[in-house]
Amino acid sequence: MTNHWNDVANSDVMMAIGSNPAENHPACFGWVQKAKDRGAKLISVDPRFTRTSSKADIYAPMRSGTDIAFIGGMIKYVLDDMEANPDNYNMTYVREYTNAALLINSDFQGADELDGLFSGYKGVYNETDNAKRTYDKSAWQYQLNKSGIPQRDPDLKDNNCVFQILKRHFARYDADTVSNITGTPKDTYLEICKTYAASGTPGKAGTILYAMGTTQHTYGTQNIRAYAILQLLLGNIGIAGGGINAMRGESNVQGSTDMCILAHILPGYLAQVENKDVDLDTYVNRHRPTVATGQFNADPLSLDWWKNYKKYIVSLLKAWYGDAATSDNDFYFNYLPKTTKPYNDYSHIALFEAMYAGDIKGLMCWGQNPAVGGPNANMERKALEKLDWLVAVDLWETESAAFWKRPGVTPANIPTEVFMLPAACSYEKEGSVTNSGRWMQWRYKAIDPPEDAKNDLSIINKIMVKVRELYAAEGGPLSEAIAAVDWNYGDDPDPREVAKEVNGYDLTTGKLMASFGALKDDGTTSSGNWLYCNSVVDPDLEPDAPIPGNRASRRDPTPGPFDIGLHPKWAWCWPVNRRIIYNRASVDLDGVPWDKEQPVIWWQEGKWVGDVPDGGAAPMNQDGYNAFIMKPEGVANIFGRGRADGPLPEHYEPWESPVANIMSKQHNDPAFKIWASELDKKGTADDYPIVATTYRVVEHWQAGQMTRNLPWIVELQPEMFVEISEELANEKGITNGGKAIIETARGQIEAIALVTKRFQPFQLNGKKVHQVGMPWHWGYSGLSRGDSANVLTPHVGDANTMIPEFKAFLCNIKKA
């Protein structure tokens, strides 16, 4: 989240889209209610009338997979209204804090001119050759001045400026077209546009609350880009009650993402190393934009915070390799593994395609259950059969651990060795977790793990110690790298010490680093994750914390400056305890808040008061730095030059879609990878005419092992079900409570039918299309068992991140 949970109470209008917070983030909903008590409006946009919808002021049904059309139309509405009523908007914000004023290469042509594609596409319309499903982005770059920084038209009128390109792009997203694509009634749609656009007035705040309904699409990244564009036009980023608020789904998915247990990044969002990064400086320079690399020089008015890149990678290498890593050996940079394929080709879907092809021999699974949670579950389960060995670490015998004895297989035919390790639950160990609002919170051990169960920290340590012993005794490829790792945690690692390593040390004094601002690139500092630097400091700096020095352990609930619910002394958040990020955009060029009732920071008497400011420099008009310090341009990107599938979001249909794309000739997103194993089957609208989606219920959690093994939960929500409209149920002869079979090109499942008014068929450009939905929590293991929705979902993912398209696919349904 750019903001945080409690801040939602500061909103004037909240849009829950691609999410259902009343169900899946109940704590958030308390703050939504608080905002409503103050007169704020809640908008719920969802294919289904959810519990969130039942509390909304306006509910809009929207066919799964049409968010870009929906938001695109809102962007058009705002742009048109800005022209008619500029005083209702914060044009200073748009001009000064976004790249709306910057000029793009005059050769650039957008989807409005090229019928759904952008300049530089290497394929034809609806290209199927993956090698050609890619863009040459040179025409998407900025026009530069003599100093190599982007040219600017502060009047926003130049034909090539981002603002004009944006207007041309979204001119096609009129309300009638949007309604024909999304199935949203036009009058409801316009009411939402008007209500949400009202948050564009300085002093008003609108927030977007989103979750997996946004991200789990072949254009999920562009869905979020659409939110970013809307919020930037409305001046909603950096202010109290504003923001783009990703409501994340697991207790420490934010922390695990920050620690970067992902194919493409290293802790602190540093890039994973590629083969062409022959040494440290090549690696660092590749991540610094310059004219020489076909980009541009950083604007002198930008703090350009990623200029510190080398300090962070060197400090990480020092944390990993210790004293022996020096500038003479490039800090052992070349010990790090490097990729050859694009990063996404090592990510989840690609990982399972490689496993299915027999390329991956061993898998470690740490509290993850892909046999239920992964797309095309039958394929992923079959892929597990190709492993030589599996290590499954969990509290329970999960579907993944038990894949070899699942219904329909013969264990004697499956040679995989499985090591199932008993793990400690969250309160049987001590450590920290980071919530969606970036709050790192320390938690304690109430009780020892049962019998021989152990915490993961201890298990990881045991494995690494033993592996290192084997290499020390036997040697092996690059065994010197394994010997060089600084790994000294004893028999039972102390999480408080590990947290200190993550924070980092001044290696010349042995003292904890106080802030990442002081990290160095010469090997004199270490930090396992620069973003977490400042979380565990010298006890003298934080003596009153329950664990002195450990800021994540703090329990002072004081609301903090300006009474906007910052709670600056409760736990700690990154970066450096800044609770609302991009907060320099919450003030004008003199440092005066746009909203004086709910300021975030305020320049008073030569200093900032309020939240930790986003870069401590003075306001812009006093030789300060621009608002978006992580961007070399210093401004937020409405136009996104680096995305795989386009610099602006464009409506495309999901991979499996019931209708033609009426926006353009380009039916699907032009850049996502098409996988073609024998189990990557695609369904057609003729065979599978019904749109399907998946979602969650409050009682259950993710792949189910943590809830389907608890009797109380099972009593509340005992069985797998599918929700279908009354009209569809009538058509198919399916009764409420009766059994139904749902089928896609990839498989079929059985579920109890929940016949409801909450789904209504969509009218899409004159065609009636039904949609159904189901929870994905169930599997063949545990106290409560049932068929897995993911047997139905496709093994295809987002063009930029390859997150699977769980949320919009085609099915058929019949009475069992």
Binding site: A27, Q368, G431, K466, W701, L710
Partner: protein
């Protein structure tokens, strides 16, 4: 002094490792009287819910190897003591009807190739086997790539993958990624991707 909930928690502090005993002159100073020693030892700690990413606070009390009470932490700014159905059921991750949840794994288990069931094993044996598998798989000529087909030094193993975990603590995630990358693993993923 009235002993409020907040005051009680401040007194118990962060390091109750299983019991809270009233004793010593310090308590008299804080409470204004010498409290009667409790007969039972109880542990009470604060925790953060392991389910969604709200980060709600809970208070957990354990006694004799079981969880005896769970409640929302009223001092926590986010949930203010409230709990959804999952948080309210936190006790059952450990304790069901006064005993260990029978579905909890308690021993390392091993499934041999082609076998139809599990065998219980010791930690030493299991860790030894896992380390052996990791080394053999990492090092196998088909898997270990010192250089790639473009001639670059890549120092990676493609035969091993790791998934998980979004419910692991930050410190665990950190040691996990440190281990995986320094062993040359590139197929590294978890729930954040999906």
């Amino acid at each position: 002094m009235e002993l409020t909930r907040r005051g009680f928690l401040k007194l118990s502090g962060a390091s109750t490792a299983g019991f809270l005993l009233f004793k010593g002159a310090g308590w008299k100073k804080v409470l204004g009287y010498s409290p009667i020693p409790l007969h039972k030892k109880i542990g009470e700690i604060t925790t953060i819910c392991p389910y969604d990413a709200s980060g709600c606070g809970f208070i957990i009390e354990a006694d004799n190897g079981n969880i005896v009470n769970i409640e929302g932490d009223p001092d926590h700014p986010i949930n203010l003591g409230a709990a959804c159905a999952k948080g309210a059921s936190l006790a059952q991750l450990r304790t069901v009807d006064g005993k260990l949840n029978e579905r909890r794994l308690t021993k390392p288990m091993y499934r041999a190739p082609g076998a139809s069931g599990w065998e219980e094993k010791s930690w030493d044996w299991t860790i030894g086997q896992i380390a052996r598998r990791i080394k053999d798989t990492r090092d196998a000529p088909d898997n270990w790539k010192a250089t790639d087909d473009q001639g670059y030094t890549v120092n990676r193993t493609e035969g091993i993958a790791s998934l998980g975990g979004a419910a692991l603590d930050n410190e665990e995630c950190y040691l996990l990624i440190k281990m995986l990358r320094t062993l040359g693993v590139v197929y590294v993923e978890h729930q954040a991707r999906i």
